[in-house]
């Protein structure tokens, strides 16, 4: 009963924060409220027995998305007069949304309360998967197509964003923020390494570790550290592509190592090698995810050459 009260307050808070973020007059307020919403969402997922998602959401949903929105805000011209919509323009969408909401709720309330069959299927196959944490087994063994294509999507997003990226405004940092970020860096690396290793048997894994590393790197980059971390660095480019590359190479290797080549299935690991393959793929996926997210959020470092003419004048 007491937990139900906690759930009710959490749900109410989530709805209020989302509504406030949508209705707030100023964009900066909307972004701040969205970050708070993301943190509460992580709490809700911890309540719903999804610690993997809570870890990822706290780093990605709240942290990185918030940083992205703030950097987009910094590029926008400040709006002097907030747009005020008249009543019909607010009313008709509200009526439409309420009708949709009624339909969605009517459909959702007919859901059967029983658990899905997939739990039993996963449990049956987990012995041959090379890891003992079911979510990692699904991500990197049973449904590794998803993960491979996700890495491709991440790469495409970075390439796309690079095509349209504006030049970064050189910002300044203050000493306290710089000192804290330097203190934070080793802990972030340690925690990310732990999350990556723990992913085999506990909640954790490549995504959480990558997102955490990216968050740490973004904080350092916002303080003008890590100037070597840029797209123009060959090794960084290689590591970003290596997430997809190692995955594909491992898939080819797995096909070669399948005894007898009788039933060759793309992205199926041989059971005795699965643990090593998954660890290798996860390691490079972590580095690729971390670097890609960092470059997506922080962009290229404002180089000293730009100040002397070529980029600034145009």
């Amino acid at each position: 009963m007491r937990l139900l009260l906690f759930d009710a307050i959490l749900c109410l808070l989530l709805l209020t924060l989302a509504l406030a973020s949508i209705l707030s007059r100023q964009l900066a307020h909307a972004v701040i409220l969205y970050i708070a919403f993301g943190l509460m969402m992580a709490l809700a997922w911890a309540r719903l027995a999804a610690p993997d998602l809570a870890l990822a959401e706290a780093a990605i949903g709240a942290g990185l998305t918030g940083a992205l929105c703030f950097s987009a805000l910094a590029h926008q011209q400040p709006q002097l007069k907030p747009d005020v919509l008249n009543w019909p323009k607010r009313l008709w969408p509200a009526v439409f949304v309420l009708l949709m909401l009624g339909g969605v709720l009517a459909a959702l309330l007919q859901l059967p309360p029983s658990a899905s069959q997939l739990i039993a299927v996963t449990q049956a196959g987990i012995g041959n998967s090379g890891v003992s944490h079911p979510v990692t087994a699904v991500l990197l063994n049973f449904r590794s197509w998803d993960t491979l294509l996700e890495l491709v999507v991440l790469l495409l997003a970075l390439l796309g964003a690079r095509q349209v990226a504006p030049e970064v405004k050189p910002a300044t940092s203050w000493p306290l923020s710089l000192g804290w970020s330097r203190l934070l860096a080793p802990m972030v690396i340690l925690l990310a390494g732990y999350l990556l290793w723990a992913g085999a048997s506990q909640p954790g894994g490549a995504f959480q570790a990558g997102a955490l590393l990216a968050a740490g790197a973004v904080v350092l980059r916002l303080n003008q550290q890590l100037s070597w971390l840029s797209w123009s660095n060959f090794w960084i480019r290689l590591l970003i592509v290596s997430g997809v590359l190692v995955f594909v190479l491992m898939a080819l290797l797995a096909i070669l190592l399948t005894p007898g080549n009788t039933d060759v299935v793309w992205l199926r690991w041989p059971p005795h090698l699965a643990a090593g393959i998954i660890l290798l793929v996860e390691l490079f996926a972590t580095l690729a995810i971390a670097l890609t997210l960092t470059l997506l959020v922080a962009g290229e470092p404002a180089s000293t050459g730009a100040e002397h003419g070529c980029g600034e004048g145009a």
Partner: protein
């Protein structure tokens, strides 16, 4: 009408509510950045519904100690895809703003010159 427990009902209602709030913001929100935020809120609602679907066995049967790992893996993939889509959308938005402000300056110059001619 329904066999779901009150906790599940609460979270399903919240998921649907988040979807509705996001949809409203997406239709109404005058600025593009707010529309992108609203899309993220719609996504959060849908992810929450999937988490509840993965959780529902746990709430009903005490014997079951596992949630559905397939749905959790799908959401984890979805989270990363959502943040990359958001990053790309925001990069496009920033570029759009730059193009607009660059277009404004020549326009203002031209308007300034017209009365003299």
């Amino acid at each position: 009408m329904t066999d779901l427990s009150s906790q599940l009902l609460l979270y399903i209602g919240t998921a649907a509510g988040l979807f509705g709030i996001g949809l409203y913001g997406f239709i109404v929100g005058p600025q593009t950045l707010r529309r992108i935020l609203a899309l993220n809120i719609i996504g959060a609602g849908i992810f929450m519904l999937m988490v509840v679907l993965a959780y529902r066995g746990l709430a009903e049967e005490a014997a079951l100690t596992l949630t559905d790992p397939v749905l959790h893996a799908l959401i984890l993939t979805g989270l990363v895809v959502a943040v990359s889509a958001t990053a790309f959308a925001l990069a496009l938005l920033t570029r759009l703003n730059q193009a607009k402000s660059a277009q404004c300056k020549p326009d203002q110059l031209r308007h300034g010159q017209e009365p003299e001619q």
